[in-house]
């Protein structure tokens, strides 16, 4: 049976970051990826914080060479209101830009770069069963030709994302407390792209903060356009090949006809009830990283950044483990990852209650507050010196209340 140091399940951002990092430290790493790359994926807008992870994993240069669309900020809109964040103006000392990517290209780039480092990347390999123990882990998987193989590893990192390999096999999934929502999306021609709209993701909030549209421009002139809303609404929009979706994005007032006559590059696709959690993120012989831990909501584009952050941290912890150190997985891994997720959870909740919008669309906003929020939106959710990280659970409702009071007083 083939023996390696580490098997990584999944060749997405979390898996490739983890694998590249460990390879750099001299470990023998194999990736088992169920799909054949390139493959479509959503989560197209990155956050600046993930640049650090890509850099540390040695993957940044390979991505740079692809000249993806640079992203320097994010704009939020609601009717006439508009609030634009620029990552160059953030509280935390960090990256001022990142990319917007077609994930098919981005993920392939990462996988190829990881392979170039000497990691064995096996596509179309579906993990069927896993046996874990303190020292030896065995995996059974089916390769593209239908043959069954076994591989033995000292440790497993599960970066299988929506595939949720170990959470399914070990029954680790936990339902999310969020309202079930869905998203429907396609890639469109964007000939009416305005100069100011050319770079960054645009988010339009509507339907009393319950729904929103993303517009994520790519470097090839196409733009990803998606609608997020309650499950029922998305099902409705998706009926008859997304007929209502198409009408909506062509007619929606706040888009000012940007996609009026745009051609769709593929029929709209949709996903439903994507929010999910886990009971625990590690166990004897394995750790979960990326979306196989918890996925909240696409609103703040946090998916890839969590993938790379947890991928990198899981790799670092794995290295310690392989060196024979006792790793406190609970404190040094799960609580760290969960801490970041919890910050974003507060912002996702704040988005759907409208507190976030109350703050960013206020007539006046303290620049320093805006810069602190900007750092959260840039993915720097582990910077405890930022009050909008440290007090994430209370600060949005409190501040929104103050603003509402002030503005109603001003209106009198």
């Amino acid at each position: 049976m083939k023996k390696v140091d580490v098997v990584v399940i999944g060749a997405g951002p979390a898996g490739t970051v983890a694998a590249s990092y460990l390879k750099k430290q001299g470990y023998d790493v194999t990736i088992l990826e169920k799909e054949k790359f390139p493959r479509f994926q959503i989560g197209e807008s990155l956050l600046p914080c993930c640049m650090e992870h890509l850099e540390e994993a040695g993957l940044l240069e390979a991505v740079k060479a692809r000249n993806f669309q640079k992203k320097t900020g994010a704009a939020f809109m609601r009717g006439e209101k508009r609030c634009e964040f620029f990552f160059s103006e953030q509280f935390t000392d960090g990256w001022a830009w990142t990319w917007q990517v077609k994930r098919a290209d981005f993920d392939s780039t990462l996988a190829e770069a990881t392979r170039a480092k000497g990691v064995e990347v096996n596509f179309e390999c579906e993990v069927l069963s896993v046996t874990c123990s303190a020292t030896v882990q065995t995996l059974e998987y089916k390769s593209a030709d239908g043959n069954i193989h076994n591989i033995e590893a000292r440790f497993i990192i599960d970066s299988s994302g929506y595939g949720r390999v170990l959470p399914r096999l070990f029954d680790l999934s936990k339902p999310s407390s969020f309202t079930p929502r869905g998203a429907i999306f396609s890639h469109l021609e964007d000939i009416n792209r305005t100069e100011e709209a050319s770079n960054n993701i645009f988010v339009h909030s509507f339907d009393n903060n319950r729904s929103w549209i993303w517009a994520i421009p790519f470097s090839d002139g196409l733009t990803s356009v998606g609608i997020v809303g309650d499950k029922e609404k998305i099902i409705e929009l998706a009926e008859n090949d997304g007929e209502q979706y198409k009408t909506f994005i062509r007619e929606f007032e706040d888009l000012n006809g940007r996609f009026k006559n745009s051609e769709l590059k593929f029929e709209p696709r949709h996903i439903l009830g994507y929010s999910i959690g886990v009971k625990k993120m590690f166990g004897e012989g394995f750790v979960l990283s990326g979306n196989s831990t918890e996925f909240l909501d696409p609103i703040f584009s946090s998916g890839v950044t969590f993938a790379t952050a947890s991928g990198l941290l899981s790799a670092k912890m794995t290295q310690k483990h392989l060196q024979g150190e006792i790793v406190n997985w609970q404190k040094d891994y799960e609580e760290v990852v969960q801490g970041g997720i919890n910050v974003f959870r507060s912002y996702v909740s704040g988005w759907y209650t409208g507190d976030f919008q109350t703050i960013v669309f206020a007539k006046e906003i303290d620049m320093e507050i805006k810069n602190q929020i900007c750092s959260v939106l840039a993915g720097y959710v582990w910077d405890q010196s930022n009050p909008f990280v440290k007090k994430h659970d209370t600060i949005l409702p409190t501040l929104a209340k103050v603003i509402k009071m002030k503005e109603s007083r001003g209106a009198e």
């Binding site: 006046e364 303290d366 805006k370 501040l399 103050v402 603003i403």
Partner: protein, 509 residues
């Protein structure tokens, strides 16, 4: 009133011209929290550069003085922590400036007082007494400005004694009957937009002394001062934000500013506020009702120095050799008359320099020609506004105006450098409107409020205002120019930092 959790800075500085940056540098290194708000896409005010077709052009700073070891600006820059990082090139020792006249006669300014004197004596051997007296007077006057000598003495840092009433033209005329010598001594008066009846001699003296004490060019552009200053400010924990145009302010019941409001609705809280914006515009921003009428009337009636028409030409590769000196060309018999020009004979006076670009070395990449222009000439287009940060459009006839004026300048240039037109690849220019929009004053004035030897006190602007926590800095306080503005920043900061200790730090730097 519930307070929102946003940060309150110790100092909010409006404008990132050298004055704002210097204040930020001083205060941040003293441990205060500082934020600089700049409306443009580029920091630096008059230190801004722009590029066209791969060439870099300075807009305000073409050369700088007082950079010999131990001289005042050398010490100031060392204190700021930027001296070692600046890429500078010393200009020719024996001619850093050339005063050139219509008859083709050229007079070199040499660096260092002794060298300067002996060079002048070769042109005017019979004028030794006048030249000696002139140099001695410059030193005497400059000695009365303690900060320029890194000294702290007396209460009034801006002006000392009766020196401010001496008129530059009159004083120089009193030294000699030799008209040419008078013209040569005042030949670089474009440096301060000299006006015969008004410019005080101390302005002339401070600037002359500065250049005689070490004249240098900035390699690859003067914006490096702003860039290096911003790095040091950030190292000290200070923040600088671009695209932040301050439009108004909020006040508490005591009449103190609590926060400033930006054009995009953001607000910035602070304990103290320093405006590096022209005083008139500062009044507009902070609210006319907050200032006494008498102050407002004085400030707003102060005459600004003239604006400029700045032509930049780029050369075909390796066609025009780099000049390690500047030329002040005068086409008329009186160097003080070029500022009060007639349309037909414009431009009569202009400054020529070739920036030193490391890439092209021995050959000049470009040339800047700077001449006077009244803001009235571009007034008809004054309702338009255009910067990179705020793109706009001006009319085609404005472009036509520029092209015509450029042609006039190039025609003049041919008289100085016959055949130069062949070597020119591209021409572009900046007008009073360009300066207005990028600098944020009302008329594109080059050097701000015009100093006047007839009523020196009237043109003096205090760093303190009637608003208890609003202070002023910049070229209108002490003097314009790199040195003048740096000195002004120190004067502004004396309100917050012990001046003796601060000056000592500069000396020990």
């Amino acid at each position: 009133m519930q307070t929102s959790p946003g940060k309150e800075y110790d100092f909010v500085i409006i404008g990132s011209g050298l004055g704002g940056l210097a204040c930020a540098n001083i205060l941040a290194s003293e441990g205060f929290s500082v934020v600089v708000l700049e409306k443009n896409h580029q920091i630096g005010g008059h230190l801004q550069v722009y590029s066209r077709d791969k060439s870099i052009y300075d807009t305000g700073v073409h050369y700088v003085g007082s950079l010999n070891e131990g001289e005042n600006l050398f010490q100031f820059f060392r204190y700021f922590g930027i001296l070692d990082k600046l890429k500078i090139k010393k200009m020719d020792e024996d001619r850093f400036d050339v005063i050139r006249f219509d008859d083709g006669c050229e007079y070199n300014y040499a660096q260092g007082f002794d060298n300067f004197k002996s060079t002048l004596l070769t042109y005017f051997p019979e004028e030794e007494a006048a030249i000696e007296t002139y140099c001695a007077k410059i030193l005497e006057i400059c000695n009365k400005f303690p900060l320029y000598n890194l000294k702290v003495s007396g209460e009034d840092y801006q002006m000392d004694g009766d020196v401010t009433g001496i008129n530059a033209h009159d004083y120089i005329a009193s030294l000699t009957e030799n008209i040419r010598l008078r013209n040569v001594l005042a030949g670089s008066n474009l440096l301060y937009a000299g006006v015969k009846e008004k410019t005080p001699f101390y302005v002339h003296a401070l600037i002359m002394k500065s250049y005689l004490s070490g004249a240098y060019k900035f390699i690859d552009g003067g914006s490096q001062i702003a860039i290096q200053m911003s790095r040091t400010i950030r190292q000290h924990g200070g923040k600088i934000f671009k695209h932040k145009k301050v439009v108004s302010a909020h006040y508490n019941d005591a009449g103190e500013i609590t926060d400033v409001v930006l054009e995009n609705g953001e607000t910035v809280k602070g304990k103290q506020f320093i405006s590096n914006v022209h005083p008139s515009v500062t009044i507009d921003i902070f609210g006319h009702e907050r200032f006494l009428n008498v102050y407002k009337n004085r400030i707003q009636s102060l005459e600004n120095s003239i604006s400029t028409f700045l032509v930049h030409v780029s050369f075909h590769e390796n066609t025009f050799e780099y000049l390690n000196y500047n030329i002040y060309q005068h086409h008329n018999d009186d160097v003080w008359s070029g500022i009060d020009y007639e349309q037909e004979s414009w431009p009569q006076t202009y400054f020529i320099c070739t920036p030193y670009i490391s890439r092209t070395g021995k050959y000049a990449d470009s040339m800047s020609i700077m001449t006077y222009m009244n803001a009235e000439e571009t007034a008809q287009w004054s309702s338009s506004f255009k910067t990179v940060a705020e793109p706009g459009k001006r009319e085609a006839d404005y472009e036509q105006f520029k092209i015509e004026k450029e042609a006039r300048v190039i025609k003049r240039l041919e008289e100085v450098f016959p055949g130069i037109s062949e070597k020119i690849k591209m021409v572009h220019s900046a007008t009073p409107l360009t300066f207005r929009d990028y600098i944020g004053n009302r008329d594109g004035s080059l050097y701000g409020v015009m100093k006047n030897s007839n009523s020196p006190a009237r043109t003096q602007i205090n760093t303190k205002t009637r608003i208890p926590n609003l202070h002023l800095t910049g070229q209108n306080i002490s003097l314009h120019g790199i040195l003048g503005v740096t000195v002004s920043a120190f004067i502004t900061c004396f309100s917050f930092v012990d001046k003796d200790k601060l000056v000592q730090k500069v000396k020990n730097a």
